[in-house]
Symmetry: C3
Subunit: 348 residues, 3 copies
């Protein structure tokens, strides 16, 4: 794939028009790239309201899998695809793996990320703490989170305080996983790993940055307490849901930053051993307990929507380069790799 | 009124010193306008701490209605009034309608906004979903929000989970309205509609922008859960209140933005049919359910205080023009209309 | 101490590498000062990720009290120490008072701040409202907050709704203080008092600014409601904790700003009478009730970590000088005082 890109006259940054695409196009434009939007269904009128985040041109498809059929067109347009959460979710990991278009980052991360057991293996073998798994519902002796298989975007979870709660709540026809419910505040940490830059927090190869962090808004769990206690609401047939609707900017206690970088470092170093490395932006989704320990409940191995509050910069970016966003950083990485003749290390 | 403004030598931006006045003066100053602050009671010393938001000169009045008596002075000072929430609330819709001073926006919106039934007619006939109304307390079969007439600034609401809750909570001597309690996360969407610009999201006439969004802080409802469940607290005689005290910046899931613009578009187009159009900034106050539907519980037809976190720009503004605020956008609109000889379309 | 600084060739800004040190070094660098980081334990690698917040050089110590032994080295390095919360907490007020190195601000504030009774005396005699104190547990007739002596960083509190709750929760072997639990939204107000500047909100001597405000994230209290009501959780042996983990940016209703400045003014004026004045940044930690009254539960008499969301500016800073942070403001104050030959007024 890198060879294809090296044959391009002029790289164009392409992505699907959703999730964090405004930020990706904004960053590409700022770094001097042409941009190409892949829109599903209809031409996305709302982009007209955001001229600095609008792609130069569109391809309109009927559905996500249509991307598989236009691989040649994308290559002819000199496109480098930037994957994001919606892109991967709707196209599916398998299709992303076989898509014949140069893509930013290392696709092999998908094997390790999209399977919960492998993701856990990766992170725990890296020394990152995750919530413990409870194999037998009879051993529930503390609050737990029950996740149904294939739960997406925050649906399909429930919280049980004890075994009784679990029995009441469970749908036995579905596959589920029971994990320790870790209590604490949530921080979604937005890292960027570059295998080619030696500026920043040095790793065995390349370096790591922290660009920003957010907390997710989730409907209806974030507002349900206004109505009454969970117990009373359950009696009324009202249950909490965990659907992500937006993001709030946050910063973390500075004394926790060394741990943030150690977690990021171990995650990257282990990824290099396991599959050649997690390239570009990624997010550790963490809970900070009242012992000031981090527990990571998930990793997202690409740009997350939680970076969107920081399209114009963040308090952490201010300490690196004012106005730096994850979108700009991605485009910068492609530009730098091209300049250094090292596209093969960041494209797959 | 537009004729009066066209006779002005040099437009001066004027507003009452409260609510979002720092932002309004800051924007006016950035766009090169002189500024005039109308202060109630005493000269507002705290402005001295904010030199870039401080008006060039003040008029001090004893109370809000004093504005009615100084209409000629304001005209002589070449003032264009920028209405905001406190201005309209304390002067009163009727007084605003008869105030003989040029004002930014279309005052006729007040007829449709200040009467709850007409506001509902406007929005629902525009195809915007609002919480349903329950006429008879006996038909309460789900959580409801009970609003007393004339409730202002978040006081005078209560939440009832069922008919019993309603009976316990209601003050039968007051007029009230019962509406469905919609559960979900809240987003206050800050739009700007220009009838004279063709840049942005095009409407039948002019165009629409989204400049920012926030979530309101409300005392004591936001923190009451720390003390115990609503049920326990009620037994102790402690009841929730909903008084707005501040604002937190948020961003919305990008895939919801098309719906945001469709709602904004329908609201504006319908306003053009009903009363000649809602001009300038407005805010749809929304709840996003776990089906990812928007429910609008109110419209504010002018600059809202929720834009104040964004005096120096927002993630959305970054996609339009860095550092753009609603305050700057208002001043810009006046400047552009003046330059194009189209003040009559934005002044009333 | 001021004399020592006046003898310096070239002032260097020094602080302990934690809390708000990235911001302090960032500000110092922007104002043209050299910087010196005092690191405890090991050289702080994470600074490499933030080149604009990284000090020019480090001193590595085994523990905080090691600072006492290197006073001469710090003076030789032309250091002015900027105290922050971790610095004061870990070195201890008594050690800070006897540390023989020039320090920004008035150290005498520590006598009044570190003793809860004297802090209360200062603020209440300034006319600032604080939560009332309940001397006898038998007189608990409303929700209360019980604080154990020496509680730090948010540990060692509990909330009791009534006398029964208190009896269940109390550890009678510890010393405690019972104070009224004030319900409302929390705003941590970041002021800057300069005795030498006459720009801004004028006081009897010098002037006052408001640079930003935040709300603290606290684990686990902020997320515990998701699991059930406090009552149910207590039965399961799960108790709330109040450990600060980060900060969220907020803005306040503009009509409350006059009160914000009056509180700040009275606090400073009283400090001048009591101990020669609180110099530089300070934070009033407030609750806004549903009567829109402020209740101050604590003062921090130096830069707080809550300013960290605003390293690149804040909505309030935008009204003073774009991109102004508390870190920049501190460095600016030192530069201005030096230029005016008035270092003695801001150094102790």
């Amino acid at each position: 794939m890198a060879e294809i890109v090296e044959g391009y006259d002029d790289i164009k940054i392409a992505t699907v028009c959703s999730h964090s695409s405004l930020q990706i196009f904004h960053g590409a434009r700022k770094e001097g790239f042409g941009t190409l939007g892949i829109a599903i269904g209809s031409p996305p009128r709302f982009y007209d309201a955001f001229p600095r985040g609008k792609p130069d041109e569109y391809i309109i498809l009927d559905d996500y899998t249509g991307i598989l059929d236009i691989a040649d067109d994308l290559i002819e347009a000199n496109a480098v695809l930037i994957p994001h959460g919606s892109f991967v979710e709707y196209l599916g990991a398998k299709n992303v793996l076989r898509l014949g278009v140069p893509m930013f980052g290392n696709r092999r991360v998908l094997e390790w990320e999209s399977d919960r057991r492998k993701q856990r293996e990766w992170l725990t073998s890296a020394g990152v703490r995750m919530p413990s798994i409870i194999d037998n519902p009879k051993s529930i002796d503390r609050p737990v989170l029950v996740k149904y298989d294939g739960a997406k975007g925050g649906r399909g979870f429930f919280i049980a305080k004890d075994e009784w709660d679990f029995k009441i709540g469970i749908d036995p026809t579905q596959n589920y996983m029971i994990q320790e419910y870790v209590m604490g505040t949530r921080y979604y940490l937005h890292y960027f790993y570059s295998p080619i830059s030696i500026e920043g927090y040095r790793l065995s190869k390349g370096s790591l940055q922290l660009l920003s962090m957010d907390r997710r808004d989730e409907t209806n769990i974030d507002e349900i307490y206004k109505l009454g206690s969970m117990e009373d609401l359950k009696r009324l047939g009202i249950f909490p849901s965990f659907v992500v609707t937006g993001n709030v900017p946050v910063v973390l206690r500075e004394s926790l930053l060394p741990m943030v970088f150690e977690m990021g470092e171990r995650t990257v170093e282990r990824s290099i051993e396991l599959f050649g490395g997690l390239i570009g932006p990624f997010c550790l989704e963490t809970i900070v307990t009242d012992k000031l320990d981090f527990v990571v409940f998930e990793i997202s191995a690409r740009i997350v929507a939680g970076t969107n509050p920081f399209i114009g910069g963040s308090p952490y970016a201010e300490l690196i380069e004012p106005d730096l966003s994850t979108g700009i950083r991605i485009a910068r990485e492609i530009r730098n790799a091209k300049g250094a003749g090292r596209l093969a290390e960041i494209i797959s």
